[in-house]
Point group: C2
Chain length 349, copies 2
């Protein structure tokens, strides 16, 4: 298994200005794994209820998602219903029932613990930490969270933040977490939280001490990726030696602003957006999937991963639920990747 994802499988009832979908397959692990599957094989650890049937299972199997970590429980699956406003950027939750997800305890199988690329979806930061501790030698750990945990479990979140490499968050959450409106200022503060002094004894976990990357998603406006230039110059061949061994003093210093680099990718301009649900998770899936398949973590690959993530997310929103991802092809992804280049490219002279 190259990519492990912990998250939710849910059923969503969605209303947008363009139509509606009732009890359609959704959840962060669903969108993440379908998106990642175009690049590398993802395994998910999640829980479903009795309403998850063979037809739903088939959606994952068609994309060769490893479902060995899928727990079946009595009762109903996580259910969410929401309504999007006219601008498709804001939504209102109409109903939310955690059901079997309420006391979800991720159970990792031995082969999960060997995963190199791990993405900790939006669950309780304590559970994210528990999962991370079981991974033997992660090469790249990504993390998602939402305002709920920022407001209720900030201490736990800050603990796990120190141990991850890539933190993917949306703009309003970045502002809430940093208490800064300006996103450059917010990013510096959050990278500071991520780079806090690691424990003195080097453990596999402090692998995350290497290069800290923050991706702030801005919905239709694309994303900003913030990263430290030096740390990314580390070639993959140097392996995952904890930074505290290689050149520890740097880590103990305050996050050094001077080598902060930014990559700014606009959103793909779509004429028809039907349903924004799952865009963020599809982005993360495409991002992690591409990195896992390339298995290189330098600046150029991180940027391309952002583009691939954005490409998959742009397809995701073209239809309700997982419909578009289910029929998506690798060729369509490559074509839109090339379009993204034309869309943003200019020559210096």
């Amino acid at each position: 298994v190259k990519i492990l994802n912990i998250g939710s499988i849910a059923f969503d009832s969605i209303k947008t200005p363009f139509g509606q979908a009732k009890k359609t397959l959704g959840g962060s692990a669903t969108y993440f794994s379908l998106a990642a599957s175009f690049f590398a094989q993802p395994a998910i650890v999640a829980v479903v209820g009795e309403d998850f049937n063979n037809a739903h299972k088939k959606v994952f199997q068609n994309r060769k998602v490893d479902l060995s970590g899928l727990e079946h429980k009595k009762g109903e699956s996580f259910f969410w219903s929401g309504k999007y406003n006219f601008d498709l950027n804001t939504r209102k939750t109409l109903k939310l029932k955690l059901n079997v997800f309420a006391d979800f305890q991720p159970k990792l199988l031995p082969h999960h613990c060997q995963s190199q690329y791990v993405f900790l979806g939006n669950i309780h930061p304590k559970l994210q930490m528990q999962v991370l501790k079981q991974i033997k030698q992660p090469r790249l750990v990504g993390l998602d969270t939402v305002d709920f945990w920022i407001e209720r479990n900030l201490g736990d979140l800050k603990q796990v933040l120190k141990l991850v490499d890539v933190f993917v968050i949306n703009d309003s959450e970045a502002r809430e977490l940093s208490r800064e409106y300006n996103l450059v200022k917010a990013a510096k503060k959050i990278l500071g939280m991520m780079s806090a002094t690691p424990s003195l004894s080097p453990s596999p976990l402090s692998a995350s001490g290497r290069g800290k990357t923050l991706i702030i998603k801005q919905g239709e406006h694309g994303l900003l990726m913030f990263y430290k230039a030096s740390s990314l110059l580390l070639s993959p061949s140097e392996g995952r030696v904890p930074e505290c061994i290689r050149g520890g003093e740097r880590l103990n210093k305050k996050f050094n602003e001077s080598n902060l680099k930014i990559f700014n990718l606009p959103g793909y301009p779509l004429e028809t957006v039907f349903d924004p649900t799952g865009a963020g998770d599809s982005f993360a899936g495409g991002f992690m999937g591409y990195l896992a398949s390339a298995d290189k973590l330098d600046e150029h690959h991180l940027k391309r991963a952002c583009v691939y993530g954005s490409v998959v997310a742009s397809f995701c929103v073209e239809d309700f639920g997982t419909k578009r991802l289910e029929k998506l092809t690798k060729q369509e992804i490559q074509n839109r990747f090339a379009e993204f280049k034309r869309l943003t490219h200019f020559e210096i002279e």
Copy 2:
């Protein structure tokens, strides 16, 4: 004179969350001409009152702006006072006094009528048309407008739209003009308005029949430029032959969607934005200034013009009023242009 700009010179009192400025030099022609002056010599046609003194004049003279078209009138100059909200994207007009600007009738001198690059700032569409009719052989005509004219003088606006090459507008105005929320749909409709059947007798004005370009500004999120691929492949050496002579049938058809191209440039991520006033006009000035200096109108130059416009605008907002533009240097512009490339650039493989 290479660039002619018709617009306003005003005094602004500005409040932002970071401070305030009282009766500071502003207005669209001020920001436009200062921005353009880094690339080519701009001339402005505008009107001021008795409160416009030698110190204000010096600001323009220092940047070699041709003020021969500046009309001095009894009374006070256009005055605007406004307050920006915390997000700096929305603002409230507290006071607006047209004063001498109320019955502004642009008076062009003979050398103005020889201008090759013309930017019609936000004034009554009828006045924009009057000015345009006096220009002998414009090579590129740009236009700005605001919601006020869209709501009150749509017919006049549509007339002048047909005669311009580049229309620069912000996202909310594009939505209002097209009655489409989605910006790709909005752009298609507006390009359709711009490409409407020209008069049968080819006049210098239908020069604008060549390539229609629409730039939708999105504030801190950058811009979208929409253009027709084919029309821009026209090399400047082909000169300004009206399209209706060259291959007229195409023009009489509905705007052809198939060769619509898009350039998407994110905003420059700034850590300190003090005052967004003048950003749009600075963008237009940098955009037109670069094109006038390069004197090439192909796709690559239009894209670079967008970047130069964004660069100058990003400096403009770093301080109140024209302060930052007054001390800006060409080297700073070049450096940030290069940064923009690093910020947005990615390799296909």
